[in-house]
């Protein structure tokens, strides 16, 4: 019984496909998989917008949306209707083609990222040999569309926001990749379902997740911080802060195109949380061995929603980082720490499995964290400002 609820979507797909002729089955499988994944993630997106507004509001000691339906649950529908009926204003001097293409390319790149994530046991859309590399390749394509959005609007604020966003994204991409490589080193494969399977054992009820090792803990923290920087979430949301830059690189977008940017940002957040859950938190595995009767896809989405809640919590708690503080943090703290993490992972791999390994790895990570924090994050001496006047 537990086995069937676990594989219910796989069995359902097989049953639907048995009604199709033989030559149509691959296409039918592709269509069913894509429709399923998109439906689930767009519903999650709607729920998350409500969740975020309620969560932030409660953290800020106010109510949040509570008019539209019970507890404001129909607020996403109201938002969607509003976005659809708003007039689509395109500035006269904007670059029409790029202005139109930018949100589409962002949405396409972000939705392609969802294709490699293993949502449950045997439930991955495409099982690629180099799945993690594909994910990071699609993540790199989002930067180009951010630039297109900012530049095509012919607006100073948009361009500034786009430049800041791209600088932030490429700076934090390196710690992201290096901390993911640590998990790949131990699992021995770039294929995401196999990385989840490598974490699926239990030693007297505790799981083998990578987050419960010193390098995995540091790696998960680095990956989480770099992930919130990649998706421009607070405290790294200088490119889109309302008090800084009107709305950053989507200033000139209104109506449905703005909604597409919004969807793309949230789905990007989902996919990067999914990857961090897959790499460090055991994917679709249960936390305690006697809880394995609960289906794998429920565990996966529970873990992803917990991570989203952590993102929302951090957004409600921390103030925004300034651009130079952000870049200093990336290059002088995160990058050396992720390199040390990589070295510690190698040490872990080749030492024998006893308490010395734990002690050595933890000691190296803590010492480097303290040293980097004291040296790399010293406050900058700000020189008196030089004013240049228009002549």
């Amino acid at each position: 019984m537990a086995q069937e609820t676990d594989q219910i979507f796989v069995l359902l797909t097989g049953w639907i496909l048995s009604y199709l002729p033989e030559w149509l089955r691959p296409y039918g499988l592709a269509v069913l998989g894509v429709v399923g994944v998109l439906a689930v993630y767009v519903t999650l997106f709607a729920l998350t917008t409500w969740f975020e507004r309620k969560g932030l509001a409660r953290m800020q000691n106010r109510y949040g949306p509570n008019r539209v339906g019970p507890f404001g649950l129909f607020q996403p529908i109201a938002d969607g209707v509003k976005a659809l009926v708003k007039e689509d204003v395109v500035p006269f001097r904007a670059d029409q083609v790029l202005h139109f293409l930018a949100p589409l390319i962002l949405l396409i790149a972000v939705c392609m990222e969802l294709g490699v994530v293993p949502v449950g046991r045997n439930m991955v859309l495409v099982d690629m040999d180099a799945g993690l590399l594909f994910f990071f390749a699609m993540g790199a394509s989002t930067e180009l569309s951010v630039f297109m959005a900012g530049w095509s609007s012919r607006n100073k604020y948009s361009l500034l926001g786009a430049m800041r966003a791209i600088a932030q994204m490429i700076s934090y991409e390196i710690p992201l990749l290096l901390s993911a490589v640590a998990a790949v080193m131990i699992a021995g494969t770039l294929s995401l379902p196999k990385i989840v399977e490598a974490q699926s054992g239990f030693t007297d009820m505790l799981p083998h997740w990578y987050v419960f090792t010193p390098w995995g803990f540091a790696g998960a923290l680095i990956f989480g911080i770099a992930a919130s920087a990649e998706t421009n979430r607070c405290p790294f949301d200088l490119p889109e802060g309302e008090s800084e830059l009107v709305a950053g690189y989507f200033t000139e977008y209104s109506g449905f195109k703005f909604a597409i940017f919004f969807i793309a940002e949230y789905i990007g957040m989902f996919s990067i949380s999914s990857i961090s859950v897959t790499l460090f938190f055991g994917g679709w595995g249960a936390p305690l061995s006697f809880l394995s009767f609960i289906p794998s896809w429920i565990w996966f989405f529970a873990k992803v929603m917990t991570m989203i809640f952590v993102f929302i919590w951090v957004r409600g708690t921390l103030p925004r980082l300034r651009q130079d503080q952000l870049m200093n943090f990336a290059w002088k703290f995160m990058l050396p720490l992720s390199l040390v993490n990589l070295g510690v992972t190698a040490l872990w791999r080749f030492m024998n499995d006893d308490w010395q390994r734990w002690a050595a790895c933890t000691a190296i990570l803590v010492v480097s964290y303290v040293v980097l924090g004291l040296t790399g994050m010293r406050s900058q001496h700000v020189a008196p400002r030089k004013y240049r006047y228009a002549e």
Binding site: L98, L133, F134, M138, A140, L144, M148, S191, R388
Partner: protein, 166 residues
């Protein structure tokens, strides 16, 4: 010669042509990024998955952004006086056409002696990893050294001088 191949070839060649012929520099850079993406898809159609994804990650994600940043940092307010192409454009075009003619003639002429093996090779990431630290470890280390030197060199060359022109 499936329709997919023709479509990808059209995207690649079209992107390359647009990168050469367009007036606005940013459009040229974005067309070049489209061409790089088309080439990555051609690599994928040749069963070279790792190379295709690396091409996407490095070229579209990094080199494309680099070119765009360089264009934005070197904008002169007035566009080129004297047109897009240099004075010796005809000679350049003739040389490019001659090169294509020679290469195309060589390829078409030797069509009968070129190998035509159609079994798709399996190049798993594990094999590539083993090859990189086994047989190709020396090129790997040299490329690492080269990338370090290039990073430091690019930063030093493009850095603001301390006593500026203020």
């Amino acid at each position: 010669m499936s329709p997919v191949f023709y479509l990808l070839a059209a995207i690649t060649v079209g992107g390359g042509l647009a990168a050469v012929l367009l007036r606005n520099l940013i459009h040229c850079a974005l067309a070049a990024a489209v061409s790089f993406a088309g080439l990555a898809l051609l690599f994928l159609s040749l069963d070279a998955q790792f190379a295709g994804f690396v091409q996407f990650l490095v070229y579209v994600g990094a080199v494309g952004i680099l070119i765009v940043f360089a264009i934005l940092l070197t904008r002169n307010a007035d566009e080129q006086e004297g047109g897009l192409f240099s004075r010796t454009w005809l000679m350049g075009l003739a040389i490019a056409a001659a090169v294509f003619a020679v290469l195309g003639w060589a390829v078409l002429r030797s069509g009968s002696v070129l190998p035509n093996q159609l079994a798709s090779p399996v190049a798993s990431v594990h094999d590539i990893g083993v090859a990189l630290v086994g047989r190709y470890v020396l090129p790997l280390e040299i490329v690492a050294l080269l990338l370090t030197a290039a990073t430091i060199g690019a930063v030093i060359v493009a850095m603001h001088e301390k006593e500026g022109e203020q």
